[in-house]
Amino acid sequence: MPVNFMPTPQELFRFAPEMLLTLVATIIMVLEPLSGADGKRKFAVISFLSLAAAIALSVAAAGDPGAAFSSMIVVDGFSTFFRILVMVAGVLTILISTNYLRMEEHESGEYYALVLFSIVGQCIMVSANELIMLFIGLECSSIASYVLAGFLRDDKRNNESALKYFLLGSFATAFLLYGVAWIYGTTGYTNLSEIRRVLLDPNSNQNMVVISAATALMFVGFAFKVSAAPFQMWAPDVYQGAPAPVTAFMSVGPKAAAFAMFLRVLMTAFEPVKDRWEPLLWTSALATMVIGNFAALRQTNIKRLLAYSSIAHAGYIMVALTAHSDIGTAAAMFYLASYTFMNIGAFAVVTYIARKGERHVEIQDLAGLSQRRPVVAAMLTIFLLSLTGIPLTAGFFGKFYIFKAALDANMVWLAVLGMLNSAVAAYYYLRLIVVMYMQAPSDEMEELPAPSVGIQAAMFAAAAATVFLGVFPSVVLDYAGKSASFIR
């Protein structure tokens, strides 16, 4: 049977956002050595505009959903949701990065190109319908992130962060890939829908031991990427050491994309063997919440505190995954959207107060922020309240729907334990608010100049989105609910 490998224009259009971003990133890399020291700013503008265009292309591509490249990728409501989410995270990251890089005297086009490459990888992850494609997207995103984590190459913390991320990340990828190899061997396919078909086929005598082992290996790889226990160890060190804007990016973009591929693989391919996944997910979700929240209680470094907090949030999303239903998927999607805004927002503030060399990242450095910079303090308060899960913020509905999904799936205990966990979490978020509002600034604190336009824009946009999702959650939730059915 002759196979036509030439993609049709339709297929190319579905893949257009990724192609555009790859092209722009490559052009930036080429132009980088040609531009003078003062000309680096244009790269930020270029990448910003290209991301905006890519978002527009994704929206346009969603008008004509379907598969492309022999079903290697698929454009549906689910992938569009996450494509746009990771691109928005990219936009916000670029906004908070420019000033930071200038302050650290490390402004260069590479940074923006790497962000774009990473986003391309994440877009492939979320739209991949095929295990090898998924692996390529994952690596594309990860390799770019490894470099970004150690971007300030003379900084010891950056080095350490990059090395840890790289070694442990590759280690985890090897496990994931080994699982993929075995799945390929036993089912004969790497396409998610085909795997599902084979697993459902009563005539094919599958070796359940091998399938279990292979899925376990894949679970390990995914759990590592979303920083779920017991594979979360890397996250605090890496998040603490990386440059603040990069941490902001790593804690949302790759995480959202990893959850998206986790969801798709879980719901599409391995739905028939869900009984084997459920105990793993259940245990991991609980352990992740507990470890994240309890470790965060005793942190003094804000970046590290937020790292543990992001582990805890991964635990909540794992609860939604455990529910294994459309409403669970929708809840996870909504949660990731709200988490993206509130977390980037919080990191935008951290980036701002850290100042040159990231000297001010201890909790005490927030003392009296309400008097030194009332607007910034108010913004951080919104993000922290949302992370706590107070009503009228996005975080509340995120948690609300996740626990609702858990109860619907008859996982009462997990829901109750999750709620207790979120009560614990209130403590460390409130501690930051207390320090900001109820402690006087010490006299030796250096003057905080007004935040740059980029940081301001990112903060306001993130705060607006956080509040919007908290007041009008149904807009996003309806969409998420509709797209959840695509990955079944």
Partner: protein, 110 residues
């Protein structure tokens, strides 16, 4: 799927390849845990990826498909990219700390 007539010695059963790949993978993982030099630790990951490639090719042969071979190429390419980035990171670590002892890189903890 296009099928290719691949001639491998048929008297070697599939399970041997798979057992070898498991041994390679476990050796790699153990090496990752036990070796002290960052470069060696990194090479252990390559070993694990080679175990993956071996599995892909062995299955590809058994299933009489070309896909598995293609996947192993992908894995190799990605491993090469990873090696390029990884060695660069190791290099900067060495430049800043003048050591390749993996336990020396542990300033962030708790």
């Amino acid at each position: 799927m296009p099928q290719l007539p691949i001639a491998l010695p048929s008297q070697v059963p599939l399970s041997w390849y798979l057992i070898l790949s498991v041994i390679l993978f476990v050796t790699g993982a153990a090496g990752f845990l036990l070796r002290r030099n960052i470069i060696t630790v990194f090479m252990c990951i390559e070993l694990m990826l080679n175990a993956v490639n071996l599995t892909f090719i062995a299955f590809s042969h058994k299933l009489k498909q070309v896909d598995g071979n293609v996947f192993s190429f992908f894995v190799m390419v990605v491993a090469a990219a990873e090696a390029a980035v990884g060695l660069a990171i190791i290099l900067t670590v060495f430049k800043n700390r003048s050591t390749l002892e993996v336990d020396e890189v542990s300033s962030m903890k708790l």
